[in-house]
Symmetry: C2
Subunit: 150 residues, 2 copies
């Protein structure tokens, strides 16, 4: 992991479709070393995957909600059960077990408020073991870095 590898990661994080040729030009090298370095970064797990980023509004997911969840019971079995249940819901795009004021932080994408209400009433709230749910509705996405600060 030298400076060249880091530069490659930065370029690929910004644009996963950048060609080996173009990386080579930018870093003043030929395609072979770049090709081999990229393959090594993939092989060694620095790059886990490549993904197309889809515009959520274009596919009608207008709402982002962060939900702080507090459980009643905190024995391992109950945590595992909750984590397994939450995985199933397609609305939940992220879920973190956190140490802090609440137990879990979950991020939800919904088409509209009705869909979110359905999720909350029929899905989340109907899990056993849920003690409290506190929702935060995203008004503006101030910063959304999809690349890591290397």
């Amino acid at each position: 992991m030298d400076a060249t590898d880091k530069a490659i990661l930065l370029l690929l994080q910004k644009n996963g479709k950048i060609t080996i040729k173009e990386i080579a030009e930018r870093l003043n090298l030929t395609t072979t070393p770049i090709f081999e370095r990229v393959k090594k970064l993939e092989r060694e797990g620095f790059i886990t995957s490549y993904k197309a980023i889809v515009d959520r509004k274009k596919v009608n997911l207008q709402l982002i909600i962060f939900c702080n969840v507090t459980l009643n019971l905190h024995q391992t079995d109950f945590l595992k059960k909750f984590e397994k249940d939450i995985q199933q819901f397609p609305e939940v795009v992220e879920c973190y077990h956190v140490a802090g004021m609440f137990d879990y932080l979950i991020k939800i994408y919904a088409k509209n408020m009705e869909e979110y209400q359905q999720f909350l009433s029929n899905k989340l709230a109907s899990l056993e073991n849920i003690s409290k749910v506190q929702s935060s509705f995203v008004m503006t996405e101030v910063k959304t870095l999809s690349h890591l600060p290397l």
Copy 2:
């Protein structure tokens, strides 16, 4: 946006490096229609970009912290100022203006606790207008969908 487009988006979200040829095979079509549909999805903004996903632990970002921030003053100017300041910090990978118990939710990546403490003391807390900061430390990433639920 028909069923084929949706299927293409699902495949590209999972694997941005999938070839036109392979998409074609999976959807029982030839490369031409797939190529043109992908270009259309890009042109019309459904696909905003392609990115390489980098393993944060591999690049030594061991901690994820969610930070709930409450401001003192909520006039437009003060909000804008805070939003501008928060953008500068490389540690902050996401920031949302939310309606709920707090004003802003920020997501932070840090190498270790010391780095986070430095960020909190020297950077975040030194912004004017900050009233309260409540940190939640991620213990486990239960679910991290990097693709939208289409």
